[in-house]
Amino acid sequence: MRALLLKRGLQLIAVAWGVGTLTFLLMRALPGDMAYRIAAGRYGMDATDTTSADIVRAELGLDQSAIAAYGQWFIDLLSLNLGRSLVSGSLVIDELWHMLGHSVSLAIAGSILSLFIAVPIGLASAWKGGWLDRLVLSVSTAMRALPVFVIGLLMIILFALEWQLLPVAGYDTAFHLILPALTLGLSMAAVSARVVHVEAKRVFGSTFYEFARTKGLTHVQAFRRHGVRNIAVPVVAFFGIQLITMIEGVVMIESLFSWPGIGHGLVHAIFSRDIPVIQGAALMMGILFVVMNTLVDIACYYLDPRGGQLQ
């Protein structure tokens, strides 16, 4: 366990450095004058001209060379200082902290929904097979083939515009969370339902499951005592793989539903070339990714200790 945590700690540092450097390089490679973009972000498009751009340039020291700017960012990072937003002037860490709460609640709600969708459907299609299996497979394939923002748009059109049950976008009430979380949940469940299906079939068809039945346990007892845990191991491991889909989905969904999380903040920061916020947001996602993968590894270890040691 200690070896695992140490290894993940080192990974965390490598990810932080890599993500920060990569975003810095990408931002420098974007076309257009950065000062104009930042000025537009601050004062609005109409009020942006050479004068305001020059003011921004002078104030933020945008004239300094790329290497100097990178060095400054790196030194600040080592002292855990993410800097201030170029647009709003507030501390990046405060902005991120605020956005993180929204993103995490969306991610958790989406993941839970995806489990509530994937587990019953996967189990049912494994148990029943036949037409149900084919139906689930077609729907899953179609869902997976659709980009997540298309699923989101369909949700908006159906639930918000056609039936007017839920708000289109925004974040005022708990109802505002339903559509974004459902979109995320559906796009994740598209694949995980199939994983549950395959693993459930493997367990139901296994010799040990059959022996659990022939030694006298009922269907329900055999499932509870020998099915759940054996199915859960690969499903939890797959959840770790799916984290990338989830983070990707969060960025898209937040923009689509104007959900004020990190993904939404990241997109806005890119438009206005707010480099400290971009780097901070990307960094935060990288860290989240490593931390959540570590949690998945630990969960897998406790579910299936046969691997012996955590690696």
Binding site: F211, G216, L217, Q221, R229, N230
Partner: protein, 462 residues
């Protein structure tokens, strides 16, 4: 009262008959052994009685249990309490993530309907009786095959079923474990009925009672054990009995140890895995053209010895000296489980030709060797999943022998084969050693096989 009666019970896959219609009766205290090679439909009969045939198969005829006809779909209600099945391959039959003690406790608790404390006390008692007291908290991957089989027997019997169907209960066990398992089965079946399915003639002898000999889904001989096994009438029964290693003719008496050159010399060798030493102070010399048997309890380091001699695992202490400078690929190993040692993704021909071109083997040698191994050229067009375990093991031997090995470590190469194939495969190994001047180390849990095939024996003890 008859515990089991079947009327014209038959099994079909589509229109193909896999098991001819069988009628049999078994009353309390009776024992029935169904004897036959793999693929003879023995397991199907047990599954057809039990009512757990794979859904792709179809069953006709009737099964009476305890004097009443019971439809297949109602039979699961009898499982555990009235009717129990001990499956093949106990390693796969026990739940992989649950401690074995709990698997027994849950059977007493939920199947026999005992209170928690009593179920625990019973499970503890039975595990102690079976010599498994210290294995209570282990998972099945931490047990040997024999231990897992004993746990499985305990679980199958815990519900109190008077009728036990045991499907190859001794497969892969060494002789002492095999006898233990047979004794357990006999003890458990005092009051009830026991149906044992086996390919092992010795097991059939020990169990006694009635014997039915089956070949490809057809009953060829039926009668009391002594009668059938001592004076077999059908040629198939005769060949089965002849194939028992005890009855093999002893090989040539020449001791190659005195003739051949020394190939490997081992001094004060200690072997082990990870940080655990399994055996130490090994001293022996292997000569060319010699067949050495390696015996010892399961888990005592037989496979590790092979890996150490082949340079696949580092020695823990001591020295392994080679007196031949042959390429590493001519120091070969034959694996216990051929299905795990061969890729299933491409045809066997591709596998063979890849090896032939890699090591520039003379292709003219393939055909005669295949003929000797009893392999059809046709087989090479299939993949490993499409041929039987015996055929695949012979294919593995083909690959190994084409490389002109100087040393061959055969790690239980016959444990998954039926006796007739075992006899052929082990004879071929001996012939290869004598003809190609290769040193063979043969691991087996069957002392009779070792005695008949080997020039001398190394006993591993921890």
């Amino acid at each position: 009262m008859n515990l089991i009666t079947t009327h014209e019970l038959a099994v079909y896959a589509g229109e193909t008959q896999l098991l001819q219609p069988m009628s049999l009766t078994l009353s309390a205290g009776e024992r029935l052994t169904i004897l036959g090679q793999t693929g003879s439909g023995k397991s199907l009969l047990a599954q057809a009685i039990m009512g757990n045939l794979p859904s792709s198969l179809r069953c006709t005829g009737q099964v009476e249990l305890f004097g009443e006809t019971v439809e297949e779909r109602f039979r699961p209600a009898l499982w555990g309490n009235k009717l129990s099945l001990l499956p093949q391959e106990p390693w796969n039959a026990l739940s992989p993530l649950m401690k074995v003690g709990n698997q027994l406790v849950e059977t007493y608790r939920w199947v026999a309907g005992q209170k928690k404390a009593q179920a625990q006390a019973n499970a503890e008692q039975v595990l102690t009786d079976y010599g498994l007291a210290s294995s209570d908290h282990k998972r099945v991957d931490e047990l040997s095959g024999g231990m897992a089989q004993r746990v499985a027997i305990a679980c199958a019997m815990a519900g109190g079923a008077p009728v036990l169907l045991a499907d190859e209960p001794t497969k892969g066990l060494d002789v002492s474990r095999r006898d233990q398992v047979v004794q357990l089965l006999l003890k458990q079946s005092d009051q009830g009925a026991l149906v044992t399915i086996t390919h092992d003639v010795a097991v059939a002898r020990q169990i006694g009672g009635r014997v039915m000999v089956m070949k490809q889904g057809v009953l060829v001989e039926d009668g009391q054990a002594e009668e059938v096994l001592n004076t077999p009438q059908h040629p198939y029964t005769q060949s089965l009995i002849e194939a028992d290693p005890v009855r093999w003719p002893k090989g040539s008496e020449t001791h190659f140890a005195e003739q051949g050159d020394a190939l490997i010399q081992v001094n004060q060798l200690a072997i082990g895995r990870g940080n655990t030493i399994l055996v130490s102070d090994l001293n022996f010399t292997v000569h060319t053209g010699e067949v050495i048997g390696v015996v010892g309890d399961s888990g005592c380091g037989k496979s590790t010895l092979g890996d150490t001699l082949l340079n696949l695992t580092p020695a823990m202490a001591g020295r392994v000296e080679r007196f031949s400078s042959a390429d590493q690929y001519r120091w070969q190993k034959l694996y216990q489980d051929p299905t795990a040692a061969v890729s299933h993704a491409v045809s066997l021909r591709t596998l063979l030709m890849d090896m032939v071109s890699l090591h520039k083997v003379d292709t003219d040698r393939i055909e005669p060797l295949m003929a000797r191994l009893g392999l059809d050229d046709d087989l090479l067009n299939r993949t490993a999943s499409q041929i039987s375990g015996g055929e695949l093991q012979r294919f593995c031997m083909l690959r190994v022998l084409l490389l002109d090995p100087v040393f061959l470590f055969a790690d239980e190469p016959t444990s998954r084969l039926d006796p007739i194939t075992t006899r052929e495969v082990s004879q071929l190994l001996v012939d290869a050693a004598k003809e190609q001047g290769c040193a063979v180390m043969l691991v087996s849990h069957d002392p009779a096989l070792i005695e008949k095939r080997c020039d001398r024996v190394i006993q591993l003890t921890t």
